[in-house]
């Protein structure tokens, strides 16, 4: 591109500098790996993300209400491993990069989620309201069966799948 066309383009466009922080930031790339978002409703509870997290930012804890998920952003390195290996994509990275904070807010920079307890529809025992792992089940489950399966504890889920396999 010769000088004159470059000069004309620069005159037309104005300064290239982003207006942020005095104005709105320019659009962020969609695939930017930023703040972690967790959706407890679609979590399978496999704890793969906790095991794989290279910086140990993700912690699952058993509480009386169920199982809590915590991702502490000040130690997360935004590598995307958790999202890559999550079987249901319950954990994913948003393109939100507004993470700068004052020191007083340091320990509040977490993504928190709670997988609640459930009472098994069959035996009345305790279980976690996680999404059942149905990837390897053949023939594939219908949507109704997934709902039925989800309302059960892990033992009754296994029984349900076994009894289903015996059907002709």
């Amino acid at each position: 591109m010769n000088f004159l066309s470059l000069f004309a383009r620069n005159l037309r466009r104005g300064p290239y500098t982003e207006p942020f922080p005095f104005g709105p930031p320019s659009p962020t790339p969609k695939r930017l790996r930023g703040r972690i978002a967790f959706d407890a409703a679609t979590c399978e509870g496999c704890l793969l993300c906790e095991k794989l997290c290279p910086s140990g930012a993700i912690k699952f804890t058993r509480t009386p209400e169920g199982m809590t998920f915590d991702c502490w952003h000040p130690t997360c390195v935004f590598c995307g491993t958790c999202e890559f290996y999550c079987p249901t994509k319950a954990i994913h990275q948003t393109n939100d990069w507004h993470l700068a904070h004052f020191q007083s807010e340091k320990f509040g920079m977490t993504e928190h989620g709670l997988i609640p307890n459930l009472v098994c529809a069959d035996c009345g025992g305790k279980g976690l309201n996680t999404v059942p792992n149905t990837a390897k089940v053949r023939p594939p489950l219908s949507a109704e069966e997934v709902v039925q399966l989800r309302a059960r504890c892990p033992k009754c889920r296994n029984k349900f799948l076994k009894s289903r396999g015996k059907k002709p």
Partner: protein, 145 residues
């Protein structure tokens, strides 16, 4: 009193930045250079300038997990910076240790050694995120002056 307030306002306009590389992998340092040098994210719009000497600095940016090797040097340089100063931790390493957390060779988090005011997480943080953090540091600096 009003003259003093006006003087303070004038002086608060142009703090100088100084950066300490406390064993960083250079990722955050590259982003800091990007924030300052390329016209797209021009940090000098905020009236800020990088300076080469800790004795001229007002805002300190610390990158890296503070390795054992640089601990004493970093402490010495930090002590040379005149008060009032605002400390900003850039990247996840100084804030918590990040990927080097609980390593034998690392003294992270740095708030055990330096009074940190603003944290900018990211590995490395984006230049606009750094500008956001520096803008927060400016707020604190105006109060301290």
């Amino acid at each position: 009193m009003t003259v003093l307030a006006r003087l303070k306002n004038l002086a608060a306009r142009s703090p100088w930045l100084y950066r300490i590389n406390a064993g960083s992998c250079n990722g955050c340092d590259v982003e800091l250079a990007t924030t300052a040098l390329i016209p797209r994210y021009d940090v000098e719009r905020l009236g800020i300038q990088y300076c080469g000497s800790p004795r001229h600095a007002d805002i300190v940016l610390i990158t890296g997990p503070l390795t054992k090797h640089v601990l004493e040097a970093a402490k010495r340089i930090y002590a040379e910076i005149p008060d009032p100063k605002v400390t900003v931790a850039v990247g996840v390493c100084p804030i918590s240790g990040g990927i080097y957390r609980e390593s034998y060779a690392v003294c992270a988090p740095i708030d055990q050694y330096f009074p940190v005011d603003v944290n900018i997480p990211g590995c490395p943080p984006r230049p606009p995120a750094i500008i956001e953090g520096v803008a927060k540091a400016l707020e604190i600096w105006r109060q301290r002056l």
